[in-house]
Symmetry: C2
Subunit: 192 residues, 2 copies
DNA sequence: TGTTTTTCTTAATGTACCATAAGTATTTTT
DNA sequence: AAAAATACTTATGGTACATTAAGAAAAACA
């Protein structure tokens, strides 16, 4: 099993010796997801932290008009979770599924909690990760309230240049908060 | 100086002995803010973590049409920060000011970093805090994309029953993402 | 206590984006 | 390679919200 991407992601923030690395990887579960396969469905409890090593997942809600709204894309190297459900054990509001064939590692919450006690450095790791995510969520929120649809599209292209090439336009539209029809029109009308 | 609210907030998540508590409080700076006084202005670097002990602060952006959009309210017991600026040292996009006369404690970032090394339990504290904030931001984002203006208003009332009584309607409008005129109309037209 | 500032309301007009529909192109599946 | 599913485009009409303006009420200030 190839843990290299995951381990290098961890050691960007904390040092691990051989023994610590082995203990960490012993907690990991590997899973392959087919396109459209669910990792989490609304109403279930999100009991694990998931790290993507290949492919691309997404989290999204479905509103009462059955319209999907994408909250996050998770290509290789990203984590994905319904944090409220994970922390409190409440039913998830988010769905998480694979946009293409993907590979993930996940850690069950009780194992992660043990890990914090056994190797407290992981508290630091998660603290740093949490702060970075929070920064991203704050700025996404700012963009959503302060920018027009076209500006949000440009922001997306700038922030995720690799995703814009691989994702269907429909998914991008859902992320920036417009209908696919409107995005199509916008891209084919706007001259500058 | 009364540290009790702040310390009880900390000890909800980690235990501190006398010495640890003393060291922690030795890092705190107390400040009183007048109504409308700024704690952070767009373009400055957010170099401290701020905890509110009385009154109420808010963070907000100003868009290119000079409209204010409130990102967060911070009444007593809440933290407030421009996380991207704090983590990376980049210029803040957020403004933070006081909606009424308020009291805060703040910790400078270098002191907080030292605290993590000297009392690693604080890594755990911040990790938990970060996860809770992330949960809140995820769910706020969901509400923003999946709910109508009226539903967002109701959600706000449910989530912050105390704030709804004290805040000017104008500030609530800015938080839920509508103009004050529209909120007024909505509240005086909607029968149910 | 009067004056200024801020907040709230009402109403007319305007617009960014949505809903629906229907056709074409592309990808996936068999 | 055919069939089916999905993705993208174009067009028409509709709506949830914004903008502007202006007056009334309430709060802050001097």
């Amino acid at each position: 099993m190839d843990y290299s991407l995951f381990l290098s992601h961890i050691t960007r923030h904390i040092d691990l010796n051989k023994e610590e690395g082995d203990y960490f990887t012993s907690l990991l579960h590997y899973k392959k997801l087919k396109k459209k396969q669910f990792l989490l469905e609304e109403g279930e409890v999100n009991t694990k932290s998931t790290f993507v090593t290949s492919g691309c997942l997404r989290s999204y809600v479905i509103d009462k008009n059955t319209v999907e709204h994408v909250l996050q894309f998770a290509p290789a190297g990203w984590w994905i979770v319904d944090m409220r459900s994970y922390v409190t054990g409440s039913p998830a509001r988010l769905n998480i599924d694979a946009l293409e064939e993907s590979e993930i590692f996940y850690i069950n919450k009780p194992d992660f909690e043990d890990l914090y006690l056994r190797i407290p450095k992981f508290e630091r790791f998660s603290r740093i990760l949490g702060q970075n995510s929070l920064a991203a969520y704050q700025y996404r929120q700012i963009d959503n309230v302060a920018l027009s649809a076209m500006e949000r599209y440009r922001q997306f292209c700038q922030l995720y240049p690799s995703l814009i090439k691989t994702l269907p336009q429909k998914q991008v539209a859902s992320y920036i908060g417009v209908t696919p029809e409107f995005l199509s029109k916008m891209l084919n009308t706007t001259l500058i």
